[in-house]
Amino acid sequence: MLKQAFNAPFFIFAALALVSGTVCYLALGREIFLGSLQEDIGLLADVIPKLGAAVLIAAFVQALLPPNFFARYMGEETGLKGLTFATAAGAVTPGGPMTSFPLVSMLQNTGTGRGALIAYVTSWTTMGLQRVFMWEVPLMGSEFAIIRFVASMPLPVIAGLVSRLVPAEPAAIKRQRA
């Protein structure tokens, strides 16, 4: 756990904070530096309790509705229904690309169509609840998060439908002709 907390981005940001803080102090003066520091601490004091509640909400939603619950229907259902299930599965998939892409790859191997796969990836990236709760709600506020989430709801289905316009693999077409 410590390894994941103190990873490369942490040290990059720690260095950036040091550099930008020093430049701020030297260029803008002590007062603005301390003002900014105070504001940041205020923001963190607001963010940390929200983050605590947010990770709990995301974890409990995932316990109730695991991504596999929706993913089961992605392949079987065609048309808009499959894309809708894919959207729901993407939104409740936790974690980063190292957990979601193996699931996409597995679904592809079990015959899920390209439209549903692309809807799933789009949903996980734009509407992933874990990211919304861990980052967006604490840092940007609930109103911003809700507006962006609602505006993103049609996106996975649109991407899925557009991707279905592209013909199947050239190799598959050649095989069909032969």
């Binding site: 909400i57 316990a63 190292m98 996409v104 734009t126 962006r148 993103s152």
Partner: protein, 164 residues
Amino acid sequence: MGTVALWILALALGLFVAVKKGPDTAATALRGAIGRALEALPGIAVAVLTAGFAGQLIPDGLVAAYIGSDSGLGGVLFAMLIGGMIPGGPMISFPLVVVLNESGAGLVQLVTLLTAWSVFALHRVIIYEIPLMGVRFSLIRLASSLPLPLIAAAFTALLLELFR
């Protein structure tokens, strides 16, 4: 939604999980959540500090001129371009969005930027998507996603028009 409302929702969901799926499932979810929060915390702290200092150093009016709420379609397109070029995960993008928000970026433009970052994120395409799914899948997905940031911008503008 305030902090109190979030905690009430969290506790209600936790109780529901414990009743419906058993206390063991709830405890596992709880442990996972605590671990995730502790992992994210140091990163969020340094990112917020950087965002704050950077916000002081950015000249007033610069952000508003390019991606402010009055920057129109040009601002939306510019936000889409910046979003598509952010190299990294939420730890990079969200602090950036906080700075831009505080220095005068418009809400529609920020939604566009976040959507572009979400769907294009080239580092993720190169590290995870192409090795696991193949170049063809990635190219088709990227092409299908090209209009999405603009569609999100249009829906956001519509929502603001309807509810504000």
